[in-house]
C-alpha cells in the first residue's frame, strides 16, 4: 500500500503539470502538494531514487510558486537522498542549487550550511569537489561578515587537504583561516592557525617556506608574543640545528597538543628524517662566502 500510493500521487501530479491541449497552465499548487506527499511516501518506503525525483519536482513546484525557501528545503532533501543513492554529481548539483535558492531568500547562513553539508557528503567520494564546496561556503560567510561561523568549515577543509596530502594547499588554507580569525579578533584561533601552517610546511620538508611563513607571521604582534609563536620559533631553531630530540620534545608539548588532532598527528611524526640534510645545507651555504673571500 505504501508504494502504490506514492506512485499514484506521482502520476496524478505529473498529469497536473503536463501541458496539453486540455490544460493550458499547469496547476503547480496541487501538483506540488502531491509531489511532496509522494516524496514522503517514497522516503518511508526507502525508495531513494524515486523519492529523490519526487523531491526534485516538488522543489521545482515551489519555485514556480515563488517560495524559494521551501524550494531550497526540498532541494536539500533531494540531495540527501541522492547521497544515499550514491550519485555524487547530483549531490553536488542539488546542494549548490539549494544554496543558491537560500541566497535568493537572502539567508547566507543556511546557504553556507547547505554547501557544508554537501561538502561533508562528498568528502570521501570526491574530495576535490568537497574542497570547492567548502571554499565557497567560507566565502559566502566571509562576505556576510560572519567569519566566526567559518572556523568549522576551515577546519574541515584543512583535514581534507591533509588527507589528500596537498600540504601547500593546506597551509595556504590555514593562513586564510588565520586571516579570518584576525578579522574577528579571535587571537587564540589565529595563533593556532599560524602554528599549524608552520607545522604543515615542516612536515612537507619545506623548511624555507616554513621560515618564510614564520617571518610573515611574526609581523603580527599577537603571534610573536604568544605561546604558539614561541613554540614555532623553538621548532624552527631546533630544525636548523638538527636537534631531533628537541623536535620530538616540542611535538609532545602541551602547546601542540591543543591544536587540531590532524595537526597533532603531523607534529608527532615531525622529525621526518631529513633534519640532518637541512643542517648540512645550511652549513654549505655558509661555506661558500668564505671561499669567495679566500679567492680574493
Amino acid at each position: 500500500m505504501a508504494s502504490s500510493d506514492p506512485n499514484k500521487l506521482m502520476a496524478k501530479a505529473d498529469k497536473l503539470t503536463k501541458l496539453s491541449l486540455t490544460r493550458w497552465s499547469a496547476d503547480w499548487k496541487s501538483a506540488t502538494q502531491l509531489y511532496e506527499q509522494a516524496a514522503i511516501g517514497y522516503r518511508v518506503a526507502k525508495n531513494h531514487e524515486k523519492a529523490k525525483i519526487a523531491f526534485e519536482k516538488a522543489s521545482k513546484g515551489q519555485e514556480m510558486l515563488s517560495s524559494p525557501w521551501d524550494a531550497a528545503k526540498h532541494m536539500e532533501s533531494a540531495a540527501a537522498l541522492a547521497k544515499e543513492v550514491g550519485n555524487w554529481t547530483e549531490v553536488a548539483d542539488f546542494y549548490k542549487r539549494a544554496s543558491e535558492l537560500y541566497m535568493v531568500c537572502s539567508r547566507p547562513q543556511p546557504a553556507s550550511d547547505a554547501l557544508a553539508k554537501g561538502a561533508r557528503a562528498l568528502e570521501d567520494a570526491v574530495p576535490d569537489e568537497a574542497i570547492q564546496l567548502y571554499t565557497e561556503a567560507c566565502s559566502i560567510l566571509e562576505e556576510d561578515d560572519k567569519e566566526q561561523m567559518a572556523f568549522d568549515l576551515y577546519r574541515a577543509a584543512t583535514c581534507v587537504y591533509i588527507k589528500l596530502e596537498k600540504y601547500t594547499d593546506a597551509a595556504t588554507f590555514l593562513l586564510r583561516w588565520g586571516l579570518a580569525a584576525d578579522k574577528c579578533s579571535a587571537t587564540n584561533s589565529q595563533c593556532k592557525a599560524y602554528l599549524s601552517a608552520i607545522i604543515v610546511y615542516l612536515y612537507a620538508h619545506d623548511f624555507k617556506q616554513a621560515e618564510k611563513c614564520y617571518n610573515d607571521c611574526s609581523q603580527i604582534d599577537v603571534f610573536l608574543r604568544n605561546d604558539h609563536g614561541r613554540c614555532a620559533s623553538k621548532l624552527l631553531s631546533a630544525y636548523s640545528e638538527g636537534d631531533i630530540e628537541e623536535i620530538k620534545r616540542l611535538g609532545q608539548s602541551s602547546t601542540i597538543s591543543n591544536l587540531d588532532h590532524v595537526i597533532i598527528r603531523l607534529a608527532r611524526k615531525l622529525p621526518t628524517g631529513e633534519v640532518c640534510a637541512l643542517k648540512t645545507e645550511a652549513a654549505e651555504e655558509q661555506e661558500e662566502p668564505l671561499d669567495e673571500n679566500d679567492l680574493t
Partner: protein
C-alpha cells in the same frame, strides 16, 4: 666520690691557682730574661690547657659543646704550631749563662714540640668515616679553615640521620618538581579551553541578539493576536446572542415534538 676523683680535682684546682703560688713564680721568673724560656713556658702552658680541654671534650655528653671544645683545641694547636718556628729561632740564639748542652737540649725540646702539639686529641679519630666532599678544599692553603684541612672530623661527618635527611630532602624536591609539572600541564589545558570558550561565546553573542529581536517580534505578534481573539470570543459569547440562541433552540425543539406527536398518531 672516690679518692681518685678527689685527688684529680685537687690537682686541677692547684694548677688553676698556680699563678698565685709565689714560689713557683719565682722559679719561672728566673727565666725572665730568656726570651726562649719565656716563650717555651707560654707554649707549654697552652699545651696543658689544650690537653685539658680535649679531655673534657671527650667526656662531654652534649655533642654541640663537645664540638665547640674540639674546635677550640684545634685553634690552639694551630696557633702553637705557628709559634714553633719562632721558638726554634730563639733556641739557636746564644744566651749568657747557658751551657752548650742546654742549647742542644733546647733544640731537642723545640723539635719535640710539634709532635706533642699534634698528639693532643681534638676529636679527629683515625677511624674510617665519610668525609662528605670536604676533602677537596683541603688542598687550598690560602683559605684556612679552623680544622686545618682535616675534614674527616666528627663535626663534618654525615651521620646516618643527616644523610637520611639529605636523601629525603632530595626525594621530596624531585616529587615537588613532578607535581609542579603536572600542575603546569593542567593549567595549559585549562588556558586553552578557556580561550576556546571565550571565542565560542563571542561567536554566540550576535546570534543571541538576533534571537532576542526575533522573539520580541514574535511575542508582540502573539499579544496582538490574543487581544483580537479575546474580542472575537467576547462578541460571540455576548449574552444577547446567547439568549436568542436558547429561545430559537426551544422553538425548534417544540416544533420537533409537535411533529413527532402528529406523526405518531
Amino acid at each position: 666520690m672516690s679518692v681518685i676523683d678527689i685527688l684529680t680535682r685537687v690537682d686541677a684546682i692547684c694548677k688553676k691557682y698556680d699563678k698565685y703560688d709565689v714560689e713557683k713564680q719565682k722559679d719561672l721568673n728566673v727565666a725572665g730574661d730568656d726570651a726562649f724560656a719565656r716563650l717555651y713556658a707560654a707554649i707549654e702552658a697552652d699545651l696543658e690547657s689544650a690537653l685539658q680541654k680535649a679531655e673534657s671534650a671527650s667526656k662531654e655528653k652534649n655533642k654541640a659543646s663537645a664540638v665547640a671544645l674540639n674546635a677550640e683545641v684545634r685553634r690552639t694547636k694551630a696557633r702553637l704550631l705557628e709559634e714553633v718556628p719562632k721558638l726554634q729561632r730563639l733556641a739557636v740564639k746564644k744566651v749568657k749563662g747557658l751551657s752548650g748542652e742546654e742549647l742542644a737540649a733546647r733544640n731537642d725540646l723545640v723539635l719535640a714540640l710539634p709532635d706533642r702539639i699534634q698528639a693532643i686529641p681534638d676529636g679527629s679519630a683515625p677511624a674510617a668515616k665519610q668525609s662528605g666532599g670536604w676533602a677537596a678544599s683541603a688542598s687550598r692553603t690560602e683559605i684556612k679553615f679552623d680544622s686545618d684541612g682535616r675534614f674527616d672530623d666528627e663535626y663534618f661527618q654525615q651521620t646516618e640521620e643527616s644523610s637520611g635527611f639529605r636523601q629525603e630532602f632530595e626525594m621530596r624536591k624531585i616529587k615537588q618538581d613532578q607535581g609542579l609539572d603536572v600542575i603546569s600541564e593542567g593549567l595549559d589545558t585549562l588556558k586553552n579551553m578557556a580561550s576556546d570558550m571565550n571565542e565560542e561565546l563571542d561567536r554566540q553573542v550576535p546570534l543571541m541578539d538576533e534571537i532576542d529581536t526575533k522573539v520580541d517580534k514574535a511575542a508582540a505578534d502573539l499579544k496582538n493576536t490574543n487581544v483580537r481573539l479575546k474580542d472575537t470570543v467576547n462578541q460571540l459569547r455576548s449574552s444577547r446572542n446567547f439568549c436568542i440562541d436558547i429561545i430559537l433552540l426551544c422553538i425548534i425543539l417544540g416544533i420537533a415534538a409537535y411533529l413527532y406527536n402528529v406523526l405518531k398518531k
